[in-house]
């Protein structure tokens, strides 16, 4: 099993394929109209799939991710060892 960040990347690509969106994305790719073009229901679906696969997700804790990288950074932050 990979890191949470790589798992999240897999989940995002699996979701984009299911939603018939271009899954060839980078961290800079916008989730909205100027990128993959997700609407609010699709964001809810992505949020639910991330929670299913990783146990939590940025949208449910009030972080409004706008790019693929914002989502990945959320899981990268979880990997940081606490002081």
């Amino acid at each position: 099993m990979g890191s949470p960040r790589s798992q999240a990347e897999e989940t995002i690509k699996r979701f984009l394929s299911r939603a018939n969106k271009d899954a060839d994305v980078t961290a800079e790719t916008s989730l909205f109209a100027d990128g993959v073009g997700l609407d609010s229901l699709e964001i809810a679906e992505l949020s639910s799939m991330l929670e299913d696969d990783l146990g939590d997700d940025p949208f449910s804790v009030g972080i409004m991710a706008t790019t693929v990288g914002d989502i990945l950074d959320y899981y990268s932050a979880e990997e940081q060892p606490s002081a």
Binding site: R18, L41, A44, E45, S47, S48, M49, E51, D52
Partner: protein
């Protein structure tokens, strides 16, 4: 643990009355059933201990107006069975009395459980359904949400709100294969009749074209149909099941 291939069904308030009737119906149809209520009952104990149902029945003592308890309940269900195919929002509480004299705490109690509790568990379960792209949500409302009833203003308001939630969620989730409907029972032999005397019950029966009070099984059969594969096109509707009383 008994392995079952049945659907996973969450029914709130399944410890007695109509809720227990719906639980029994889904257990009879071979499904896996999780229910919650404030406390256990003899029926809950029976389902928990009966070898025929024990492996596919889950009960948690939960106050539906407590979000943390509801979160834990839904997590327990998905930890046990991975998915939720059907949610039946049945739990409800009534405080009867003229609104002008109703304590604020009673207003809060009814709204917190009937409305906010129902919205919260619907939110949690709809997320699981969105992730899979299928599911059914049924809310048990009431004819008093449609016609009103003297002394039940708060309860009636919450039941009307559940029908509104049903229509909105059906529009929101329909494109993802999630069906959302409500069933509005009339006067049943159980919960809704508890505060009525014999004279009032006789009057209701006389005014009911079907000539009798409803039974939990009358409602359970409708819920079963709405959540069955046979229902391929009904969503966003409130099905009135009152023996013709409000026809």
């Amino acid at each position: 643990m008994t392995v079952s291939t049945g659907r996973v069904v969450i029914i709130t308030g399944g410890s007695r009355g109509l809720g227990a009737g719906i639980v029994q119906s889904y257990l009879d149809s071979g499904d896996r059933v999780a229910t919650c209520a404030r406390s256990s009952t003899d029926e809950i104990e029976r389902w928990t201990n009966d070898p025929a149902t024990a492996g596919r029945f889950l009960f948690r003592a939960v106050d539906l107006s407590n979000r943390e308890q509801v979160d834990a309940f839904v997590k327990d269900v998905t930890d046990e069975w991975d998915v939720v195919d059907i949610l039946v929002n049945n739990a409800g509480v009534a405080r009867d009395g003229i609104l002008a004299l109703t304590p604020d705490d009673d207003v809060d109690t009814v709204i917190d459980l009937n409305l906010k509790g129902t919205l919260h568990i619907s939110k949690l379960v709809s997320r699981r359904m969105l992730s899979r792209g299928s599911g059914h949500i049924i809310s048990i409302s009431s004819i008093v949400g449609l016609s009103g009833y003297r002394g039940l203003a708060v309860y009636s308001a919450t039941k009307a709100a559940m029908d509104g939630m049903t229509r909105a969620l059906a529009r929101e989730l329909g494109s993802r294969g999630i069906f959302v409907n409500s069933v509005a029972p009339g006067y049943l032999r159980t919960e809704m009749s508890h505060g009525l005397d014999e004279g009032q019950l006789d009057q209701i029966v006389r005014r009911t074209p079907a000539g009798r009070l409803g039974e939990p099984a009358d409602i359970a059969r409708i819920v079963q149909f709405l959540t069955s594969p046979d229902n391929t096109y009904i969503t966003g509707q409130t099905i009135v099941a009152d023996g013709g009383l409000t026809a």
